[in-house]
Point group: none
Chain length 321, copies 2
DNA sequence: CACCGAGCCGAAAATATCTTTCATACGTGA
DNA sequence: TCACGTATGAAAGATATTTTCGGCTCGGTG
């Protein structure tokens, strides 16, 4: 077997020196383009990997884009009680080359909000909320999650993942816990259009199966935290065996991505006691998975069309009247 | 055991009317032109009072706000074959303190134009849609489904179901196929807050287990079509054994409801070849299930709170960087 | 036809803003 | 408690923006 190693995964125990990328504009962990309006979502997504000071900056930016857009680096640093360096660092983390570009994006966002008039019912669900409120809040929240996910999804990565999956000899999907259900959902649908797909929730079996993979196969890991060992391990094995690997995660900087050829980022909605993170992450993951599926169905249309029709027929038969 | 019979068949279902307002990032397709035209108009208005060089700059800015927003003073000066000073002068004339602010406004303008571009999301997903459109359409569609579901959900029925579940000795959930995953999702969450819940995908085992149920227990059937025999059968058994029965279905007039004490209606979005019904029904079912869960968590807060906190902690531990 | 003045224009200096570097302080785990 | 790694801000360094200033063109005038 070939021991593949992903070279771009930065600073692994190294000197931590300057990150001047090779070949010029490299920069950063994974920033194909800057983000348009997905900024609020991105802030939430990346918040966990931020330091305290950076979080303060990110929060200020997310809360008042318009106001921050009017500020210079120094101004924003003072406002948040931090230094210019921290502001720049935050901008970088959010995917921009520097503060200047973040500021530009901020101005755009402000303009959009201005014209879009965001309703923003940002209240948490309380213990004594009447049931009707619960329904409204949950629905709103999931809608928000969907919008954020769609805005933050990297279509280039998605396209690459779709291509790989459409041409794959075999597709393995790893996920445990709530993500396991998403993995099964994806698998069910892929099977339905005639592809060979398996979902693995058992870490041991997953690894055992991952060994079978080779170039041309696709392995997909689904984990919100990005650091679920039970899911990373099989992905690593698949990666090292030459399979094309995809990570669907809410932490694009987490350990999983170390072994992922393509990274699909799910959005993280703020969570609260009565609204566990699993809820919105699931919604987000499902959207990503749906996109992946539809993309694959498009690419394999010749095969998928009759298969879809057939399963549709088969189902109708079970419906008694 | 008593052979229960439901006296009024076909009652229940909610209004089912389509929801109107949705929050989300919908953004008006083409509202009144707010600010974008403002700048273009200003350019035209002030053009006569501009010198030749300034006109060149103004023209460039009006024609391609987005492109110009990406340029520095020097860049724009070169592009228009003028000097930095001229660019700044133009910016001043247009009413900004300097180029920096013009650039910010330009970025905002670009973003507005961008968002105003409705990508024709009212259309079905086609085989040759670019991947970005697929994402947008799917997200939009699922948002719509959520809005519809929330609007059509009967909160009285939901409240009744919540009460029953919160007080239940044991909760059984039936679902096959895609609905099976929803059943599992609900079960996972209920288990997490200390309730006793089981999901059954195997019809035979489901029936076998349903026999165990009695008054005070709750049985929940999840079926989009409302006529999935494999799910109706266990619900019937549970119903006849005295359990409180709940149906989560897209057809409030379908056969399942015959044995359901409480009916929770999911919405049905239009489907197409590349967008199977399973997709939107799943979204809808999950929202209902989430509402049910949160409702139950509220009612059993004393018990649920520590459980939720505990699982939160357990998860947080895996988040270490 | 030559001269003159007014205002346009751009090169370069001056300033503001952004970015990088580096030493220090803090928190964390042994 | 100590040692290590990391986060953080002050200040130096690099860019971008603004201002200054002198050349230039153009239109009018003797």
């Amino acid at each position: 077997m070939t021991q593949r190693v992903k070279e771009s995964f930065g600073s692994g125990g190294g000197s931590g020196s300057a990150g001047a990328g090779s070949g010029g504009a490299g920069s950063g962990p994974s920033g194909p383009p800057p983000a348009p309006a997905a900024l609020a979502a991105k802030v939430r997504t990346l918040a966990p990997s931020m330091t305290r000071s950076m979080q303060r900056v990110a929060e200020a930016v997310a809360n008042d884009p318009a106001g921050c857009a009017a500020l210079t680096v120094t101004g924003l640093a003072e406002l948040t009680g931090t230094s210019e360096a921290t502001v720049v660092r935050t901008a970088r983390l959010l995917g921009y080359p520097g503060y200047r570009d973040l500021r530009l994006a901020l101005a755009g966002l402000a303009a959009q909000q201005q014209s879009g008039r965001a309703p923003a019912i940002t209240t948490d669900i309380a213990v004594d909320d009447p049931i009707a409120d619960v329904v409204a809040k949950l629905a709103y929240d999931e809608q928000q999650t969907l919008a954020d996910t769609a805005a933050g999804l990297d279509t280039v990565q998605l396209g690459a993942a779709v291509s790989a999956a459409a041409a794959a000899r075999r597709i393995d999907v790893y996920g445990v816990g709530a993500s396991g259900l998403v993995a099964q959902d994806l698998t069910q649908k892929l099977l339905r259009i005639g592809l060979i797909a398996h979902a693995h929730s058992d870490p041991h079996l997953a690894v055992t199966n991952a060994v079978q993979l080779r170039a041309g196969d696709v392995a997909i890991a689904i984990t919100h935290s990005g650091s679920t060992g039970d899911v990373i391990e099989p992905l690593r094995v698949a990666f090292e065996h030459g399979a094309t690997t995809v990570a669907i995660t809410g932490r694009p900087d987490g350990p999983v991505t170390q072994y992922a050829d393509h990274i699909l980022t799910t959005s993280t909605a703020r969570e609260s006691e009565l609204r566990p993170a699993a809820m919105s992450s699931r919604t987000s993951q499902l959207l990503v998975v749906d996109c992946l599926f539809v993309g694959v169905a498009q690419r394999t249309y010749e095969m998928a069309a009759p298969a879809l029709a057939a399963s549709y027929e088969a189902l109708a038969h079970r419906h008694r009247r």
